[in-house]
């Protein structure tokens, strides 16, 4: 099964890259864009029997490695489902 993991900086953490991208978009005339937060995207091919098992494995992997809990949060999607 394919799992997708979206890792983003916590809302409380300043994102220098996102801020710079926002400014660049403004210089291009996209004043409607109020804020940009940059993050990381992972696709994991997981060999497990059930969606719940895939979620469990991927969440554990995200906690241990894919995200740094000091500065980042993550969201996991498996198939069409979205898990907080």
């Amino acid at each position: 099964m394919r799992a997708r993991v979206f890792v983003t900086l916590k809302p409380s953490v300043f994102d220098p890259q996102g801020t710079t991208v926002t400014e660049a978009l403004h210089s291009l005339g996209y004043d409607a864009v109020k804020d940009v937060r940059q993050g990381k995207y992972f696709e994991l091919e997981v060999d497990a029997g059930t969606v719940a098992e895939v979620k469990r494995i991927v969440a554990e992997a995200a906690d241990k490695l894919l995200a740094n809990p000091v500065i980042e949060t993550y969201r996991i999607e498996v198939a069409e489902e979205v898990v907080a």
């Binding site: 900086l9 409380s12 300043f14 994102d15 220098p16 890259q17 490695l65 000091v70 500065i71």
Partner: protein, 249 residues
């Protein structure tokens, strides 16, 4: 006294640290490959600067799983002095040996310059030869040195006097202008609660001889000699000359 310099694939300040330990302060030194499962009986461990494992994922995120890190953790838990310099500091953060994390520099630039750093705490094995509030002029070279931790963590660090090094002006003022990367509270380096594990972004090992523009970093290595090697250990002539030059600055 024996200094272990851990070498990760992508470390690039390992030879600088080894050179200072061996040739400048005259200690015994050994390079320890990251897959080794022994620290070779070392008294001090240095995690050097560089780009361990290519800085893939996050700085220090993969290095944390190198086999040698189990030994480093045991050594630190037993009270052994461990110092992480630049990338080594980032590894210590990812490994949970020090609190917090690094963000991309506020400028988004790789900052490579000499900065002024104040030594605020002298009760660590790496700063005990320093004067309190001594100002060091040493280089930084990093893209991700923007120290971050939750507000309560930073408050605890300040309360416990765990902020060992702070970016300041030459006069010792921790101003916004003196902050090269956006670090909270101008934090340049920390220690753990037990005070035996120290991490800092600036490179003292690149500032140990006047021939390279500054010998201010030598005080960290003199501290190691004094804390581990015993106060009686005489500095070799080369280091004494450099230390004298520091005193005369």
């Amino acid at each position: 006294m024996k200094v272990a310099v851990v070498v990760f694939p992508g470390s690039n300040c390992d030879h600088d640290a080894y050179y200072v330990a061996k040739d400048v302060i005259g200690a015994d030194a050994e390079m320890i490959w990251h897959k080794d499962t022994s620290l070779g009986g070392a008294d001090v461990v240095v995690l050097p600067g560089g780009f361990a494992h290519g800085d893939y994922l996050r700085t220090g995120a993969i290095a944390r799983f190198s086999p040698v890190m189990n030994e480093v953790k045991k050594f630190a838990a037993a009270g052994g002095p461990v110092i992480g310099i630049c990338n080594g500091f980032q590894v210590l953060l990812e490994a949970g040996l020090l609190p917090g994390a690094m963000l991309r520099n506020r400028s988004l630039k790789y900052q490579c310059e000499h900065v002024f750093v104040k030594v605020e705490q002298t009760d660590t094995p790496f700063t005990l030869a320093s004067r309190k509030d001594q100002i060091l002029r040493i280089p930084i070279a990093h893209g991700e040195g923007n120290y971050y931790a939750e507000a309560d963590v930073v408050a605890r660090l300040e309360k416990n006097r765990q902020v060992v090094f702070r970016y300041t002006t030459a006069a010792g003022e921790a101003s916004a202008e003196a902050n090269p990367n956006g670090s909270l509270h101008n934090i340049a380096g920390l220690c753990n609660e037990a005070r035996n594990v120290v991490g800092l972004m600036p490179h003292p090992e690149r500032a140990c001889e006047l021939a390279v523009g500054s010998a201010d970093g030598l005080v960290l290595f003199e501290s190691i000699l004094r804390s581990v090697g015993g106060a009686a250990a005489p500095l070799p002539a080369k280091a004494s000359a450099a230390a004298g030059a520091v005193a005369n600055r």
